[in-house]
């Protein structure tokens, strides 16, 4: 699992999410823990529809995928770049200067900010 490229991991996650729906979130969390990169303090996965958008969060696969965020959030299946601050708060690339307490709050803030617009995949590292 650690050798898996970020793109492959994202493709796999997206495929699982499409195939398994809501059940995908806990299923994909397990390999990250097995790979030894899972932060034991990482927030729990979530999967909900917020203001008509599907938002999902789960501990991240791949050690360097998000330079240590350790957690991945998707909006309608597209990854939202997320970062954890030293005090445990979170920010995303669409709301970068305004920390919120949880990844779910960051996902919801992003949906608010997008006002229905499609998120674009951020450039690969």
């Amino acid at each position: 699992m650690p050798e898996l490229s970020r793109r492959q991991a994202l493709t796999t996650v997206a495929a699982l999410a499409t195939a398994a729906g809501v059940a995908a979130a806990p299923a994909t969390a397990a390999p990250a823990a097995a790979g030894g990169h899972h932060d034991p303090h990482s927030p729990a996965p979530f999967d909900e529809v917020y203001r008509g958008r599907r938002i999902q969060g789960r501990p991240a696969t791949g050690g360097h995928a998000h330079h240590g965020a350790g957690y991945a959030v998707h909006i309608d299946g597209v990854e939202l770049h997320l970062m954890r601050n030293a005090d445990g708060t979170w920010i995303s690339v669409v709301s970068h200067y305004d920390p919120v307490p949880t990844p779910r709050a960051a996902a919801r803030a992003a949906v608010d900010e997008l006002r229905g617009a499609a998120l674009l995949p951020f450039p690969a590292n």
Partner: protein, 274 residues
């Protein structure tokens, strides 16, 4: 010699020249390279990993060099142009001349945040957002909605009074002048202004809004004011700090400049108040 002026004091001709030079950098494609660079550092700078442009001591010299690069690019278009600064403690209203149609244009409409007037409105035809995180190609703002008030002069004074430049752990958790100015801790100066403007300024691709440069030119000026107020305090850390740019280490992406080379702004420009 480049003199950086308060944007409120610019003449009509100075505003027009600044806007025209920015639009020319946009047309030629050079502008978007600055947006790309900024977003790359926003994504890459982390509290517990390598950090250079943000959430670290080099936040201030990194942006000083970044603004110098942008100002030099403007001057290749029009040698008379200098970066103006926006003192948001003084010009704190939506009615400021900063947001007038002859300068940066105003706030976005409530429907979608789209800026509808001024030279950077999408319908003026010269400002398409290409380096972006979502599908929208128009400039967005939402002045004063996500946070109601810009920082006050008293809040700025409370940060300028801090005698230590920066402190371990040299990130968003630090005490000291740099992190209070950056805004991850305390009264929150720099970060709050990004949030107050909203739209693109709230994102990692914040230089998509030309007000980015005026905001950072003022942050840069506050660093100069701090130095004048604390002549015995220097840039920290001095040496040997993993993941952090020490005084005499070079900074990415230029790799030819150290914080030590950027502490004195006067070889490059002066302020109208100097």
């Amino acid at each position: 010699m480049t003199v950086r002026k308060n944007q409120a004091a610019l003449t009509t001709d100075e505003k027009r020249r600044f806007v025209d030079a920015v639009l020319e950098l946009k047309r030629s494609g050079r502008y978007d390279a600055f947006v790309t660079t900024h977003n790359a550092f926003i994504l890459g700078d982390t509290d517990h990993g390598e950090r250079t442009g943000h959430r670290s001591p080099s936040f201030l010299p990194w942006h000083r060099r970044f603004l110098l690069e942008f100002e030099r690019a403007l001057q290749e278009v029009d040698a008379s142009v200098a970066l103006p600064y926006w003192d948001w403690t003084a010009d704190r209203s939506l009615r400021s001349s900063l947001w007038a149609p002859d300068f940066l244009g105003g706030t976005g409409r409530s429907l979608d945040g789209q800026v509808m007037d001024g030279p950077f409105a999408t319908r003026a035809g010269k400002w398409q957002i290409t380096v972006r995180v979502d599908g929208r190609t128009f400039l967005r703002r939402s002045l004063g909605t996500a946070v109601r008030e810009l920082p006050t002069r008293a809040e700025v004074e409370s940060v300028l009074a801090m005698p230590t430049y920066d402190m371990a752990p040299w990130n968003s958790a630090s005490d000291g002048f740099r992190n209070h100015l950056e805004g991850w801790r305390g009264v929150n100066l720099h970060n709050r202004v990004h949030v107050w403007v909203g739209g693109h300024m709230a994102t990692g691709a914040s230089p998509n809004d030309p007000v980015f440069w005026l905001h950072h030119a003022y942050i840069d000026k506050l660093w100069a004011e701090w130095q004048r107020r604390h002549p015995g305090s220097g840039y920290l850390p001095a040496a040997g700090t993993p993941d952090v740019v020490d005084l005499n280490e070079t900074m990415k992406p230029w790799n030819d400049t150290r914080p030590a080379d950027l502490l004195d702004h006067t070889p490059h420009y002066t302020f109208d108040t100097d």
